[in-house]
Assembly symmetry: C2
Homo-oligomer: 415 residues x 2
């Protein structure tokens, strides 16, 4: 079973929008075991859309078309699919009422234009998920390409994703005769390189290759950490969850406490949770990261019960004045620790994180860019680490963030 993705929109070809939808769809298809060998972008042009769809159907069993389902004149995906199906567009009155009701619930009148969204190719079915006003279509091609199917989804990412998850992926699995359940779980790690991790897990990966119980894949994701994805297949949801649980435990045993979270966890969400659990508060003294750690923490709703604030002492004088730091070199262990202790006093917090160093591009105090001291204080107990990062300014700042947060995380866990 092969499924292609066709993204529709002249703005994609002109580079005004990057097509992230196709990537996401490709990932989901891979996850349920459906091959996808081609992805195509085509503009809002009827003949070229029809030709691209025909070509895709000649190579694959199913096609997901993304975009062109809106209410304007540019939105011609419905017409193109009708041509491929050799049918007419027919107005679906039930759909008209659904769209009208959707506008009504927002206290608005449905514009006449939106009626076009209820004109669907004869024989097409509506995707069960319909989070916006654009209906998704499931279009069987019996008679023209027997057994094949076109799925049409809007280009709005959250609408597309819901339709894929609820309406399309299950349908594809059924068509492909995939009765098994495929699921994956992502362990998020920090502190080891991809090759180092691969080496540690080498025996386990080989064992899995033989048994076929599950697969392990790595995905380096910058300051989001290095992701280890475990994927398993089984007959039922319960069985696949059981396999994932066993495998997760095995991997954790091998790699140790570098696993900081699972799936949607982030380093900052995990740390806030840990602090909250223990009834501890946090303050930050950020020199070279200049507010980046604070901005990540405050991106999380409800952080204010744990996070009390930050001092960003970009000027040296301010480090001394607001944090009570001693008159020592800025890029030193002593300065980092003094800042971590100082911020706990200034903000009256249990824990403090401080970073100071050289973001670049120029050296500072004789230290090259990427030389960074990160320090923590937990109820007066302090520790500092020296980072040496051969990166550019942006990545030095980003990697300092996650490394500093991780230092506090591991030390809290060790207590």
């Amino acid at each position: 079973m092969k499924c292609e993705v066709v993204a529709v929109g002249t703005e994609l070809l002109l580079g005004q929008i990057v097509d992230t939808n196709s990537s996401w769809i490709g990932e989901q298809l891979a996850l349920i075991g459906i091959d996808s060998h081609h992805q195509t972008k085509v503009g809002d042009n009827h003949d070229r859309m029809v030709a691209v769809l025909e070509l895709a159907l000649s190579r694959s069993d199913a096609v997901v078309v993304c975009g062109g389902l809106g209410p304007t004149q540019d939105d011609i995906t419905r017409e193109a699919i009708a041509d491929v199906m050799s049918v007419e567009l027919v107005r679906d009155e039930e759909l008209v009422e659904r769209i009208r009701a959707m506008f009504g619930s927002r206290g608005r009148e449905m514009p006449q234009n939106n009626l076009h969204q209820a004109d669907i190719p004869a024989g097409a079915m509506i995707n069960p998920a319909m989070p916006g006003t654009a209906p998704g279509l499931i279009c069987p091609l019996d008679g023209v390409h027997d057994g094949k199917v076109i799925y049409a989804v809007p280009g709005v990412p959250w609408e597309m994703k819901q339709m894929m998850t609820e309406g399309i992926l299950p349908d594809l699995q059924q068509r492909a005769g995939i009765t098994s359940v495929i699921k994956s779980r992502t362990l998020r790690t920090w502190g080891k390189s991809e090759s180092g991790l691969a080496e540690e897990l080498d025996d386990e990966i080989k064992r899995l290759d033989e048994t076929g119980e599950a697969t392990i894949a790595f995905l380096a994701s910058g300051w989001e950490g290095l992701k280890v994805r475990i994927t398993a297949k089984a007959d039922t949801e319960a069985e696949v969850e059981a396999v994932l649980a066993v495998e997760e435990a095995l991997v954790r045993e091998i790699v140790g406490d570098i696993v900081f979270g699972v799936d949607d966890d982030t380093m900052e969400s995990v740390l806030l949770h840990l602090l909250r659990d223990r009834g501890l508060t946090l303050g930050l003294a950020e020199s070279l990261t200049g507010g980046l750690i604070a901005s990540r923490l405050t991106g999380i709703p409800g952080c204010s019960d744990v996070f009390r604030g930050a001092v960003v002492p970009y000027d040296r004088e301010f480090k001394l004045k607001l944090l009570g730091a001693p008159d020592v070199p800025a890029v030193s262990e002593e300065m980092a620790i003094a800042m971590a202790v100082g911020v706990c006093q200034t903000l009256d917090t249990d824990c403090g994180i401080a970073v100071t160093g050289v973001a670049g591009p120029e050296p500072h105090e004789g230290h090259k860019p990427g030389t960074v001291w990160a320090a923590i204080s937990i109820q007066g107990q302090t520790e500092a680490i020296l980072l040496n990062m051969p990166f550019d300014r942006e990545r030095i700042r980003q990697f300092t963030c996650i490394a500093a947060l991780n230092l506090l995380r591991t030390r809290l866990l060790a207590r």
Copy 2:
């Protein structure tokens, strides 16, 4: 003249990497007036690559193939192109020496694998730009697809971009018989909606439609502002620059001081420049943005001569203590102004920016998410604005950043 883009790599289909290269190439092609009607992603599979290239050549005059030029077994773009050209791969000894020298200049021995990168289809030429070890190829197809051409570039973005700019775009222009120079200039604006701006510029856009001197396009870019792109065509570089200068002046006259920068300028780079020019220093008091403004400013190298630091008082007590703010409601004009004045005193700066409000998702003090006060102080002179943003937490924080920075920018300019 039509040119397609083919991105090569199984990791693109699996969604492990988002294909931003094709978007960038599409934008560059549009800019020099070359049509691009299709973009395709294909995996590292010989037969499918050849089929995709043949198809692209049947529809277009030129193809840019991106990726698959590395030294490993996966990198089979060279072989696929040789097949399409009906020629053999031949080792280019001059290229071997160039690659070897490149490794040598970094003090490293060339691995044997990299020899493959010097195996090029007979008849292919080397792209004049070669920033990495992967040579770019220019492959004329005379004899198989007369007059057509395949350009191969590596998937590494900065290598690809240099080869496009120096080797491919000029060649395409020449082949297309485009002797004119096309250039564009982007005015970055903040403070008006796309429809509002389009209305203001409506007469000018109509005038340009008639004269054909230039075109104007809009691109909403979130907290990077709304971009207004002016594109012009002329016989020489000097002439096109003159047209752009005239048009820029006209647009600025119509839309006023909402233009904050040009091309690569950002709101923060422009503000830092303005402060530096006037010998003024800056401090921040960020409540709901939680360090986001500071992190943007400190992302710019050399900001420390102007930016002295930030206080992120996420806890109320800290606002009062560190900023000397009075005991007034957190979401109020009085609080915002007190914070702006307070931070100037605490950090001993000429200017202060303060923001306080509700990021959501929950209301606070009876105010709904998106209710934000932003205040500035310039040598004691204060001003505050109330923002009402019907957005989610992330966008409320982002839009507050640019709005607050812009407030200081406009008031500095007005002095």
